[in-house]
Structure formats: C-alpha cells, structure tokens
C-alpha cells in the first residue's frame, strides 16, 4: 500500500552479504563485462584493475543517485517510470533561466532572440536524435500522452469515418488506448486489439491478418513497458502502408535506450517523452511526416499557432507551430536538447549494448529466485528484452513487496498496473511489480535488488 511508510533501521549488515552473493552469481559475468567495458572509451582503472562499466562511470553525473533512503543506499530501479537527469541537463535548465529567459518567436530584443535560437536548436537536436529529415517534423508537446492526443484529435477526427479500423495491442499504455477510444466514439471508427502469443509478446501474425482495407491506423508501442518486448516496426509499417493505413509508434521506452531512426522505420507518427530520456518533465514531442502534418487541422488554439486573427475567424501557421499553441516549455525544451547531447556523447549504440547485457543479467538473476513469475518473452539469441522486468512473487502482493523493499533496503521499484490495465487483465493479475534499469544502473544494483528481494520474500513467507 503506497500510503504506508515505515521507519526502519538501516540494515548495514546487508552489505557483506551482497558482495558474497554477487560473487557467487556473477564471476563469469563480471569477467565478460570487464572485457566489454574495456572496449569503452577511456575507462578509469580501479585499484583492483577491473575496468569500470558504463553504469559506474555514468553514475557520477547523477547526484540524486548518491543518497540514502530509509537508512539504506538508494537503489533506483524505476527508470521506466521516469529517468534521472545528469548535471549537464540541470545546468542547461538553470542556465536558461539565469541568463537568457525570454519568450520565444515574437520578440525582437537580444534575450528573446537568444531564447528563440536555443529553443529552435533544441528542436534540431531532437530531430537529429531520431534522424528526422527536417526539424519542422518535430512538434513539441507536454509529453508523449499529449502527442498521441494531438494525433487522435487532429488527424483522427478529420480522417476516421464510421467503420474505419484502428489497430492496437492489448499491451498498450493507457495513453495509446484512451485517446483512440474517445475518438472512435466520436467518429464511429472501430478499435481492434492484437492479443499475445504463447511467448507473451503481441502476436505479429495476428496483427498482420488484422490489417485490411478498412484499417486506417496502426498505433503500437515500440518497446513494451511491462513485457520488455519489442515490435518489428519496419515490417508493420510495410504491411500498413500496403493498405494505405498510417502507423503511429509509441517510442517512449525505445528512444531513451537505443538508436531509433524514423526514416529507417518509415513511421508516420512517433511519440516520446523527455522525462524518460534524461530530460526534464513537462516536455515531449511528436514526430510526424511533413505532408501529414501539413494536412492536419490545429489541436489547441491560441497564440503562436496562428497566422492572422480576426474576430470571426483566423488563419493558422505552418507546422510545427500550428500545433504549439501558447508559450512553450522553453527551458525544458532546451534541457531536452542538452539531454540529447548528453546521450549522443555517450553514444546510443553503447548505451543499448550495455543495457542488453544488464537486461539479461537482471532477467536471469530474477528468474533464479523461487516462486518468481516474470512477464514477457524469455531472452534468447533472437529475442532481446529491454532492461526491465515486470514480475510477481507467488502469494505476495506486489505492493507489499515494493513497500518492504523500499523501507528495509532502499530499493525503489514500482508496483501496480503500470498504466496497462488491459494487459494485466489479460495476464490474469491485478498488479505486478516492476524493476527497470537505465545506463546509470550497475550489476551491483541488480545484486542489491535480488538480495533485498530474497529477504523480503522470506520475511513475508514466515507469516504464511
């Protein structure tokens, strides 16, 4: 129960246990890690000459990770809910407000010009980050949810007719279900849902069969925030375009963790949130192909998105301005640009490579805990999982688990339905616990988590 917060003594005695457990688990793994991380740029050599992993190096940039909660070292395993921000991003935000805060686009004076330049530069950075051909294809929104709503209300209301079909999966985040429900009610379009196959991933064959002449839109996740699976977006786009349907990709869990190339994917729309990719909250973006955006009517009305305003009517600006009504989150956009820079400096391929290893490690150690049921596919040669695991422990409510982990061990995980109620209903559970990693997590974090989990399970089991 999230309302409960109990004060508990620090269990410093855990530390030695953690190390011994870690060494039994992971001797081989740490060696392979060492080999891999030595190939990373300029590794600092520690006293025992074991090369430092990306996680260890990156951690230095995140002051928030170096604290104690409830008497234990913080182990933050909730990056799928929101990521932590490196000092560079925080500086960029502070810098904006301290030195050149000013409203953008219409001003003449120096500060305004500078703010506008930085804001538009941020847009270019985002465009480059996802390899959009033109920065005008990036619309800044409040977050991915707003971006999806934008497409639903603007594109959806003017393009969907009664009987048209919109294809989703049962594993979608609520933000990619509810707007379509609203719009389909208004337009008479029909929603169809792809279910999971026996590997607990959305059934691609079923998706393919569902696509028909009636399909107007396929809106799916790239990487699932619960199942950790990914969908073959390129293929889906090919199938959809064959029948003239558009594809919207919810890339919230992919853009932060891997290279996402919108031209290669050839998606029509793509959305992501800044706060999951080391950027601040309050900003996200929609990528839309130019010709699509040009044909779309406005979403929100107000300043910035107009051309001329009369009393009885107005004319609208070109995209992206057309969809950016009102004063934007200027500082936040600039900080998002800084986040793109930060991630690019490390290199998305490196981040991805590191996380694939971490993901495997997490899955395997978690799976070795008795009575644990992890959702989603098993990792294999052909199947790469994202670095997160949603799971349940037999006979233990995830909320109890998360509470105890937090209170006794300082381990932060999430429990609940992760904004995916239909998925949980489909899996037959009320809620699940989820541990999610990012490139600033380390193997040691995973080890701490597993030790804490084992302790938690045995505590609650002693009451059965």
């Amino acid at each position: 129960m999230e309302g409960v917060a109990m004060k508990l003594p620090s269990f410093k005695s855990l530390a030695p246990t953690a190390i011994s457990v870690a060494s039994t688990f992971s001797i081989r793994r740490s060696l392979s890690f060492a080999r891999r991380s030595s190939s990373l740029s300029a590794a600092t050599i520690t006293a025992d000459s074991e090369p430092v992993s990306l996680g260890h190096r990156a951690r230095k940039d995140f002051r928030i990770l170096h604290q104690e909660v409830n008497g234990s070292k913080l182990v933050y395993l909730d990056s799928a809910a929101t990521s932590q921000k490196p000092a560079a991003v925080l500086e960029a935000l502070q810098n904006y407000y301290e030195f050149y805060n000013s409203n953008v686009h219409r001003g003449i004076h120096y500060l305004s010009a500078k703010a506008t330049d930085e804001f538009e530069l941020a847009r270019k950075k985002v465009a480059r980050f996802i390899n959009a051909s033109d920065s005008r294809e990036i619309v800044f929104t409040r977050n991915a949810t707003e971006a999806i709503n934008l497409v639903a209300y603007s594109w959806g209301l003017s393009n969907l007719k009664p009987g048209d079909e919109v294809i989703l999966t049962v594993a979608e985040h609520h933000s990619c279900i509810v707007p379509w429900q609203i719009v389909s009610q208004k337009t008479g379009a029909v929603l169809k849902f792809v279910t999971l196959n026996e590997d607990e991933v959305p059934d691609i064959d079923m998706l393919r069969e569902m696509i028909s002449e009636k399909t107007k839109l396929v809106a799916v996740h790239h990487v699932s925030n619960v199942l950790a699976s990914s969908l073959p977006i390129e293929e889906i786009v090919v199938w959809a375009h064959e029948v003239g349907a558009k594809v919207l990709v919810d890339a919230c869990q992919s853009v932060p963790h891997m290279v996402v190339d919108v031209q290669k994917l050839n998606a029509d729309f793509l959305v992501a949130s800044s706060h999951k990719m080391c950027g601040p909250t309050g900003i996200g973006f929609l990528y839309g192909k130019s010709d699509l955006l040009l044909a779309m009517p406005p979403f929100l009305g107000g300043g910035e998105m107009i051309s001329d305003v009369f009393l009885d009517h107005s004319t609208y600006a070109e995209p992206p301005s057309r969809f950016e009504a009102g004063t934007p989150a200027i500082g936040e956009a600039i900080a998002l640009g800084a986040a793109c820079d930060y991630l690019s400096d490390i290199g998305m391929p490196k981040i991805h490579e590191y996380e694939v290893e971490l993901a495997k490690y997490l899955y395997e150690t978690l799976a070795s805990v008795p009575d644990v049921r992890i959702y989603g596919p098993r990792p294999s040669e052909s199947v790469q999982r994202a670095a997160l695991c949603s799971f349940n422990v037999e006979g233990l409510h995830p909320t109890d688990l998360a509470t105890f982990l937090d209170q006794q061990h300082g381990v932060a995980i999430r429990s609940g339905h992760h904004c995916a109620q239909p998925l949980h209903r489909y899996l037959g559970v009320n809620a699940s616990a989820r541990a999610s990693l990012y490139f600033y997590n380390t193997k040691e974090d995973v080890d701490s988590f597993i030790v804490a989990l084992a302790d938690t399970v045995s505590f609650f089991n002693s009451f059965k």
């Binding site: 109990m6 003594p9 409510h397 109890d400």
Partner: protein, 349 residues
C-alpha cells in the same frame, strides 16, 4: 447591532491565528468590519472572517515521538481496544517488529465472505484491493469485517477492525487518523489518492454513520437490509437500491466526511432549511500549518455553507451567522476552523 469597539474589549477578546491565513473562507457580508460583542465566558469571540481555535497549534513534528501527542487527538478519546493497540505498538520499538505485529493482526483477521466483496464495500484509492463490511449487532454497536489481497493492508485493516468493532457510532465517528502516528507507522496523513489507510478509516466511519441514519429513519433494520441485498446478489439492482437510499438520506455531495455529515444533520434538524448545501473545501487550505496539526482535523476543516430557512426571518446577517455558529459549537471546538456562510430566507432567494 452596535459594535462596541472599545480597544480593551477588542484586545482582550480577540485571539488571532498568527499566520497569513486570512479572508479566504470569509463569509460574504458586505461590510468587512470586525464585529465584536462582550463575550459570555463560555463563548469565544466570533470574528465573521475566521474561526479561532482555542489552542494555537504548532505543525505536527515529523518524528513519531509520543510526546507530540499533545497536538494529536488524545489517546483517551479513542475506543478502548484501539487504545490498547496503540499502546502495544508504542511498546514495540523495532520497526521490523512493528511490521511483524501488523502482519500478525492481519493473519488473525476473520476472513470476509466473498459475497461481501462488493463494489460498495471496496475502499477507493488503494493500489491493493480492500473491502470493508459493517453491520449493527443487537445493541446497535457497529461490527466490522474486512479483507485485502495485500498482507500489509490487511494488517492495517485488522487494526481498524479490532480497534473499532463493537463500539457505538458516535465513538467511531470521533476517531481521527492521528492515532496512526502514535502507532509509529509513519503514515502520510494527507488524503491523497493512494492513502488507503485514511480511506479505509473514512469508509468505516461513513458506513457507521449510514447505518445510524438508516436505523433512525426507521427503514428496515440495516442488518436484514444488507443480508437481503446480498442474498438477491449478483443482479446489480439491489446494491444500487441500497446505495440510492444511502445517498438520499446521507448526503448529496459526494465527498462529505463524518464532520460534513454532522454539520448537515445539525443544520437540518435545527433550522429546517428549504435549501441546504454543505461543501467541504478543506483541500483548498490543506497547506496550512494549523490544519496539518490540529486535533480532530481529518482534513475536514473548512466548509462552505448555504442555508435557506425561515428561521432567519427578521434576523440581521450577523445574527444569522451567529445562529449557525452556535449550532456548530462542538465542531468548532474539535477542529473545524472556518465556515463560509450564505444565510438567506426563502423570500430572499
């Protein structure tokens, strides 16, 4: 009403709250004068802007030290069994041991029959599932049963069930969540969405009150009511029948807690209003230090009232407000901070 504004009277009779919480829950009198009159010793001065508590409360300290109980509802006001539970938890120092104690309670909680796991009995705002059932025993004491799929929540539910079951309605309604602090379980007492404990207590109190109201109204015995509701079962109609009754008789504003209910009852009984609106706007003032710290403040500290009644005929605005304040004396002394009152006669509407 000539206000006697002599300075001595002013100073001696006025006790203001020392922070900047002014004017919001003010009443709508056209004049903003301070209105004073010589006070009988048993009444406080009523300033038509603010209600003044008798004790200047300091913000509740974050630690769970029992000495801070001076700011909390006194333990003696709690039902006896709840007092025992609180004392037991206070005697257990080790936090992990407190957990164990909690789980122990949960384990020994009588299981709730699944037919009572209805929507009506479900506690809102819990990430886990919690159900609470309430009924009267032969002596019109409230008996509770509860269940949850989360063992920690079940433990908390068991605490409440053990502490409140078998007690009369009035005693139950007096309980505030303050005792959770005394337990040493560091609960967040803000009524946020995820605070299942607070919501559990609220639901239990709401159920107690509605049992009382239904019994008083002479509708069929609540025990048989509930039983018949459940027997007919799976059809959605019978539960909604009970719910309609409840909502008609108890309140027509959704989130009225126990104080809100009491206010409504009192005003209805004494003023026989043609129109009555009781609106809990405590959330607007949730940041105040006084609100956080005050005893009996189950978040219910500020209300907007709209009363249309013949009883106001021929009375000045101030007299009307005075009438309302007089009726709600008990509330005002137990944590109600301020009322914003609109008092009209039917002709004036």
């Amino acid at each position: 009403m000539a206000a006697s504004m002599s300075s001595s009277c002013y100073l001696s009779s006025l006790r203001l709250i020392p922070f900047n919480r002014t004017f919001f829950s003010s009443v709508n009198p056209p004049s903003k004068n301070l209105i004073l009159r010589p006070i009988p010793s048993f009444l406080r001065t009523i300033v038509t802007f603010l209600k003044i508590p008798t004790v200047i409360v300091s913000p509740l300290s974050a630690s769970s030290s029992p000495s801070s109980s001076v700011d909390l509802q006194p333990i003696e006001e709690l039902p006896p069994k709840l007092q025992e539970i609180v004392k037991l938890f206070q005697s257990v120092q080790e936090p992990k041991a407190k957990y164990e104690q909690l789980l122990f309670y949960g384990k020994n909680l009588k299981p709730l029959d699944s037919r009572f796991k209805t929507r009506e009995n479900k506690v809102e705002g819990c990430v886990s599932q919690v159900w609470v059932r309430a009924f009267f025993d032969e002596e019109r004491n409230v008996v509770y049963e509860a269940d949850s799929d989360s063992v920690l929540t079940k433990g908390l539910a068991a605490l409440l069930v053990n502490g409140l079951s078998g007690r009369p309605v009035t005693e139950i309604l007096r309980v505030t969540p303050d005792f959770a602090v005394l337990l040493g379980l560091q609960q967040s007492l803000t009524p946020s969405r995820n605070n299942g404990f607070l919501n559990m207590l609220k639901l239990m109190q709401k159920k107690a009150l509605s049992l009382e109201v239904k019994a008083e109204e002479g509708t069929s015995e609540s025990t048989t009511d509930e039983a018949s509701v459940v027997e007919v079962d799976l059809e959605s109609k019978p539960p909604s029948v009970v719910e309609v009754e409840e909502s008609e008789s108890v309140s027509n504003v959704v989130a009225l807690g126990s104080r809100g209910m009491r206010i409504r009852e009192k005003l209805e009984k004494e003023l026989n209003p043609v129109e009555l609106e009781v609106e809990d706007v405590s959330y607007q003032h949730a940041g105040h230090a006084a609100v956080r710290g005050s005893a009996g403040a189950d978040g219910e500290t500020h209300f907007n009232l709209r009363v249309v009644s013949d009883a106001f005929q021929g009375k000045s605005l101030v007299k009307r407000h005075r009438m309302v304040y007089d009726l709600l004396q008990e509330e005002l002394q137990s944590g109600l901070h301020a009322l914003s009152i609109v008092a009209k006669t039917p002709a004036e509407v």
